[in-house]
């Protein structure tokens, strides 16, 4: 049952937030905060998924990006580091985005981590998440790319 609901969720876009969407459905916006180009590489069930995006703060106040939610589970804000011990992602308490600034969550820098995903995230499918920024829960539409992808399929595309 749960799997069926998830599949429906994956297939459906987010019509409830259509009025806040830009001309494209991979942009979500609320009160001057925008999430663009959210994407994640295909991930097998049980593994950790890393979700990347751009977050814009066009409001007049600093906004704190703290994490998110997917399928009722927490998405942690994590920062990348690399050393002799190899690659590591560390949980960050939050990332302030100054007024008028934007931040890129990109591979090997920053991401929202969904630990132990409850189902396979298959390439080509889509996913709905909420991004917690500036005290708001911003819905975002996540495209699932190929496993091991290093950039969004719209990389370089400007909205």
């Amino acid at each position: 049952m749960r799997a069926c609901l998830l599949s429906l969720l994956l297939i459906a876009a987010a019509p409830a937030f259509a009025e806040t969407h830009d001309h494209d459905d991979h942009v979500a916006e609320a009160e001057g905060l925008r999430v663009l180009h959210a994407w994640t590489p295909a991930t097998a069930k049980g593994a950790d998924a890393l979700v990347y995006m751009e977050v814009e703060n066009t409001s007049a106040a600093e906004a704190l990006l703290t994490g998110g939610e997917a399928d009722g589970q927490e998405l942690e804000l994590v920062g990348f580091s690399y050393g002799a011990a190899g690659e590591a992602w560390t949980v960050l308490p939050g990332l302030p985005i100054p007024a008028g600034a934007d931040v890129d969550l990109e591979p090997k820098v920053l991401a929202l981590r969904w630990s132990s995903v409850p189902m396979d995230l298959a390439p080509g499918a889509e996913l709905e998440i909420e991004v917690e920024v500036g005290g708001q829960h911003l819905p975002a539409h996540v495209e699932i790319g190929e496993a091991g992808a290093t950039a969004h399929s719209h990389a370089g595309h400007n909205h």
Partner: protein, 435 residues
Amino acid sequence: MAEFWASLPPALQDVLFALALIAPGLLAGALVLRGLRPLPLVGAMLRRFVWVNTLFVALIAVSVGLGVGLLAQERGLRQGSARAAEKFDLIVAAPGSEVTVMLASVYLQPSDMALVTGAQYAEIAGAEGVAFAAPIAFGDSYQGAPVVGTTVDFVSHLAGPLAEGRVFATAEEAVAGAYAPVDVGGSFTPAHGHGPGAEGGAHEGFAYAVTGRMAPTGSPWDRALLVPVEGVWAVHGLANGHAPDDSRIGPPFVPEMMPGTPAVLVHATELWGNYALKSRFTRNDLMAFFPGTVLAQLHGLMRDVRSAMSLMAVLTQVLVTLSVLIGLMIMVRLIARSLALLRAIGAPLRFVFAVVWAYSAALILSGAALGLALGWVAARGISAVVTARTDVLVTANLGWPEAHLVAGFISLTLFMALLPAWLAVRRPLLTDLRT
């Protein structure tokens, strides 16, 4: 199952994987040898053809050693270069190639670069969450060692407390890297540029006195001579970043009096600060990046090369396994007469089978063990050479990937050794007895 596997600690996964790899070979051995004791005879046969057996063991050892050495060395290089970059949290430079700036600032392989201006530096250094912003001004050298202009903060950040002496206090003093060519108390005149084209006399009449020496960092900075950035500006005839009557060194600098710096190392007060600062200074007139990210991407790109190397190592093992198999079949002919005698005086076929298998297993296991040792020695040797040439401390040790390679090799060859054993018991008894 996949979820359960993913939930196990990595170390346990490695152990279990190694056990799973070696299990088929050991299981085959346990079944073959159950209730028999062929070892005294096997020992006699090994001694009988000691040179052939030694050659055989050497062949296996060299092949295993190559595979093991290759894998360990590659990982050692990757870890060494990553360790060297660990202290370089966030680099801000003029827009350009991140790789070029990383090579110049982390690995001290300088190239011509646009400069971060005094105003930009002041903005970076004054940004919220910045613990310190250290200029990294390279370009000069002394006897092949890079001379780099920076600040006291950077020296302590890079290497911790000095191993000897004190940090520089004036624009004419310097701190030597752990293996730099000038001792504490000595002095040097930098050459303009680096490498064979460095102009030795360009800074004639100017000398730095070395007041301290850093502890080793395992990076090319161990060979460097660190000087106050004001000194670098001064020897090039530029303003020194401070008002004319101000002789102190270090930040804050007067933006108008600061000639600029190729790169700035930024260290944030908070863990998240680096990420916020990276976002903040990624803009049209500046470039901010984590060397760790660039290095991880480069190593990621090289993953294909690594895969090719691993594949080559495995292929070599497979080829050697085949050679071992063919060799064992030839060896069986050498011991055929002894085997025929055993059969003639009533040894069961299973015993003769066990003798041949145990004989092969003895060669394979000795070769694999010797190969591990050989691979370790080779990796250490090559590491020492690479460290000497690049100043990046490379320590290659045997790890789980090598254990898995050897476990897989042993298992496969022990399994394949069943074939010559089977062929041996099918040989014509009387013909072999008469040879």
